[in-house]
């Protein structure tokens, strides 16, 4: 196991896609220390910025102790192994990851798990904007795997989701699940406006209150429980909405009935 500790408080963004169990695999301490990272526009070695130690423990493969909120692209494209970050993580954490596990004991910044294909990301704090969403303009959203956030998530999370599960135990910002076509998003507390805009498939489940419900969704019924994954069913009752009709969508939006009394005046008559 490799332990990385920042040698200073970073002032500039660090691009460190080499911090990845697949890259570290089979490398000596010296080789790891000489991997390339970028600090702002300066090319540096990993050993210049981090204290690198090795312990005999097998897992996790990489532990980062300290605040690395300026360190971007950690675990990008990783396929196996485990990374634990004891502190705040930077942008693009686990982007395009295809396996393995990342745990953050702190907050994560934007684009965490962007376009991921497989694996698990656990964030025991808040996540930033664009959680699991693809790069701007791209439609290649998260395809599989799971992301669990204990705290809140920012705006535009889970955009273009094509598979996998996102579980948020706090609140979600606006544009949650924009344009999703498959997969599941669960929010335990409240969700912001434009919820599920342009969705064409998949499931979004909100146990808390919603800021607004877009007029392009139509109510379909009430359901007591909704399956989130194999181990977990969300307790309702939930209004079931279908949409986004503006996109001829066939997505399902489940919104808690008891947490949203304002909806009953509008939708109950259609049930």
């Amino acid at each position: 196991m490799i332990i990385l500790t920042p040698l200073k408080t970073f002032q500039f963004p660090i691009h460190a896609e080499c911090v990845n169990p697949d890259v570290f695999q089979g490398k000596s301490m010296k080789e790891i220390a000489s991997l390339t990272v970028w600090e702002g526009n300066k090319k540096k070695k990993l050993g210049d910025l981090f204290k690198i130690e090795e312990t005999s423990a097998e897992t996790p493969n990489i532990t980062i102790n300290g605040d690395v909120s300026e360190v971007r692209r950690v675990g990008q494209g990783m396929k196996t192994g485990e990374i634990v970050i004891n502190g705040n993580a930077g942008m693009h954490l686990g982007e395009k990851m295809a396996g393995g596990k990342i745990t953050v004991n702190g907050n994560a910044a934007g684009w965490t798990g962007s376009s991921m294909k497989k694996g698990l990301i656990e964030i025991h704090g808040d996540a930033g904007d664009y959680l699991a969403s693809p790069y701007r303009g791209s439609t290649a959203g998260m395809k599989g795997g799971a992301i669990v956030v204990d705290g809140n998530v920012g705006s535009d999370s889970g955009c273009y989701l094509r598979g996998g599960t996102i579980i948020v135990k706090g609140n979600a910002g606006p544009f949650l699940g924009f344009h999703i076509s498959k997969g599941v998003i669960y929010v335990e507390k409240n969700a912001g406006n434009r919820l599920g805009a342009s969705m064409t498939g998949g499931k979004i489940v909100v146990s808390g209150a919603v800021d607004e419900l877009m007029p392009t969704f139509t109510v379909d019924g009430v359901k007591k429980k909704v399956k989130i994954d194999d181990n977990f069913k969300a307790e309702g009752p939930f209004y079931v909405f279908l949409g986004d009709l503006a996109e001829h969508g066939n997505g399902k939006l489940f919104v808690s009935q008891p947490s949203n009394p304002q909806l009953s005046a509008i939708y109950d008559k259609y049930l």
Binding site: P134, Y135, G137, E247
Partner: protein, 564 residues
């Protein structure tokens, strides 16, 4: 100025009938000459290498409003293809739509020296020329879209071909253009009213005129003006199953235009115009019908518009067609009606082997190129970036020259497309000589570029040298080696200067922008009526409309004497 001698290469120069002869090419002052002073000249040892004229591309969207809008709506296209700057070259981004400088570098690395930007809304001419100025290492020209331009429609409606000709001569100077481009004739004007034309005899709203009259009229006008290139036509109903009937009708209609045995029309990206069937489910190749017609007639030339399986961006003046694509894919899109001139649309497109339609399209392009017997009639393009980015040309070269290569790709395609494809029955493999025709000589001839596409005395010293020894390398068998050789030229020489060596840019030279200075006996009178129309119908005043001389950094005016 510099003298250069390319020694001992295997020269393929179809316009002069040279087929792999071992010979020297002498260059002086940027031109090919008979001989140079042996002691003074810089020598390039081309022993065991293939020497061809610099590549010519008859149809590639590299500059202008559409291209730039395509860049703007696709940040994800940029992030996946980033080019760093070097001491000599500039940085850039973009996979399907590379930025201007990278476009120049990438073409040059493949041995290309002349490219044609085939679609320019006259209103966007200034922008187009500004971008062309920024594309280094290549000679360029651009074709204004005139098929739905109101003055053309009005003149043709009155059957005043001479008036139309004078207008077009004026437009060539005004937009610094090179040829008449026609896109979905009549359809673009109709699109302004949310409609389209569906056959060549549909009437264009508000103008009592049909696509047939537009195409034939402009072909006649083109001839009256003696323009070096023919009309450059994107057919009606493009990209719609069953459209090959329209394509055949268009070609038959053009038989009525006198042609003296020479081509009078170039149908571009003919792959998109050769679909049979009546819906996307039973869409199949019409390559057999189209190629049979082409083999029996000599009044047309074509280019392939070959599909490359990639995530690319489609962009065309054919607004209604792009709207159809949007309805199919649901992707982000841009669509516009360019005032009184044309329309436009852009939508990203991912061509997949696993899609029956895309795989059939891929097959159609190759079937056409291989079933048309005369290589002087059909040229290699991808209609960049519509069917794929231009820097994937080496892949097409491999498919054309090696049956093994195309069968390997076909095997990975959708089963339904495999079953319908005619490729397994086609044995033909293009030789290096034929390849030189479809990638440079034929294109230069069709474009009427007298100094391009060949290595005869007096030609521009644009030369491509590839690391292929025709005596030892069988490109049909070792297609991957050949593909790599065509991907990065051993040398690219532009105007007598080495600009690329071993696939790396080693020198920057600006390219020229060619435009037609058409001299008519009687010039167009820009009268008050015409100025009034500019005031009433355009957002740009007449006085600000023309591309002034200073817009074109390195201009090359080609004088043309018209018959009117």
């Amino acid at each position: 100025m510099t003298e250069m001698l390319i020694k001992n290469g295997f020269v393929f120069d179809p316009l002069n009938g040279i087929n792999g002869e071992k010979m020297d090419i002498a260059i002086k002052d940027g031109k090919i000459v008979e001989s140079v002073n042996d002691s003074r000249a810089k020598k390039i040892d081309a022993t065991g290498l293939t020497v061809m004229p610099g590549g010519v591309d008859v149809h590639t969207h590299i500059a202008g409003a559409e291209v730039n809008t395509g860049r703007m709506i696709r940040p994800e296209d940029h992030v996946k293809d980033v080019v760093r700057k070097t001491a000599l070259t500039r940085s850039g981004t973009g996979y399907s739509i590379p930025s201007t400088f990278v476009t120049g570098y990438r073409y040059s690395k493949m041995g290309y020296t002349t490219v044609m930007n085939p679609s320019m809304a006259p209103l966007g001419a200034k922008h187009t020329h500004e971008e062309l100025n920024d594309i280094p290492l290549l000679d360029k020209a651009t074709f204004p879209l005139l098929g739905d331009w109101w003055f053309v429609l009005e003149n043709l409606q009155r059957d005043d071909l001479e008036g139309c000709a004078r207008h077009i001569a004026w437009m060539m100077e005004t937009t610094k253009g090179y040829a008449i481009k026609i896109v979905n004739p009549g359809g673009l004007e109709s699109w302004g009213f949310g409609r389209n034309v569906h056959s060549i005899d549909d009437v264009v709203p508000n103008f009592d005129i049909t696509p047939r009259e537009i195409v034939c009229g402009l072909a006649k006008v083109n001839k009256m003006l003696n323009l070096p290139h023919t009309i450059h036509l994107h057919t009606n109903n493009l990209g719609i199953p069953g459209n090959y009937v329209t394509t055949l009708e268009t070609m038959k209609a053009l038989e009525s235009v006198p042609n003296d045995g020479k081509p009078i029309c170039h149908i571009t990206h003919v792959q998109f115009s050769s679909f049979a069937g009546d819906n996307w489910g039973n869409m199949r190749s019409a390559a057999e019908e189209i190629s049979r017609y082409i083999n029996n007639h000599n009044h047309m030339t074509f280019d392939m518009g070959q599909i490359i399986f990639s995530d690319t961006t489609t962009m065309t003046a054919d607004g209604p067609f792009e709207f159809t694509l949007y309805q199919l894919s649901g992707h982000k899109w841009v669509n516009s009606d360019v005032e009184t001139e044309t329309s436009g649309g852009i939508i990203p497109m991912h061509y997949k082997r696993t899609s029956a339609v895309n795989a059939t399209q891929w097959s159609i392009g190759l079937e056409l190129a291989l079933m048309v017997k005369d290589p002087w009639k059909i040229f290699m393009t991808t209609d960049h970036p519509n069917a794929g980015p231009f820097f994937e040309y080496p892949k097409i070269i491999a498919w054309l020259t090696s049956r093994k290569a195309r069968m390997a790709t076909l095997k990975k395609c959708h089963k339904k497309a495999q079953k319908k494809s005619l490729l397994p029955s086609i044995k033909r493999e293009l030789s290096l000589y034929e390849l030189a025709i479809v990638t440079r000589a034929g294109q230069a001839k069709a474009l009427g570029l007298k100094n391009k596409g060949h290595l005869g005395v007096g030609a521009d010293a644009d030369v491509a040298i590839y690391n292929i020894n025709p005596e030892t390398l069988d490109i049909a068998k070792k297609y991957i080696t050949a593909r790599k050789a065509f991907d990065s030229a051993a040398y690219t020489i532009k105007d007598g200067e080495i600009v690329v060596k071993d696939g790396e840019v080693v020198q920057n030279v600006p390219g020229r922008t060619m435009w037609l200075d058409v001299k008519t006996t009687e010039q167009l009178k820009v009268d008050e009526e015409m100025k009034r129309k500019f005031k009433d119908y355009w957002t740009v005043e007449y006085e600000n409309y023309p591309v002034f001389d200073h817009y074109v950094k390195v201009p090359e005016a080609i004088p043309v004497k018209a018959d009117v």
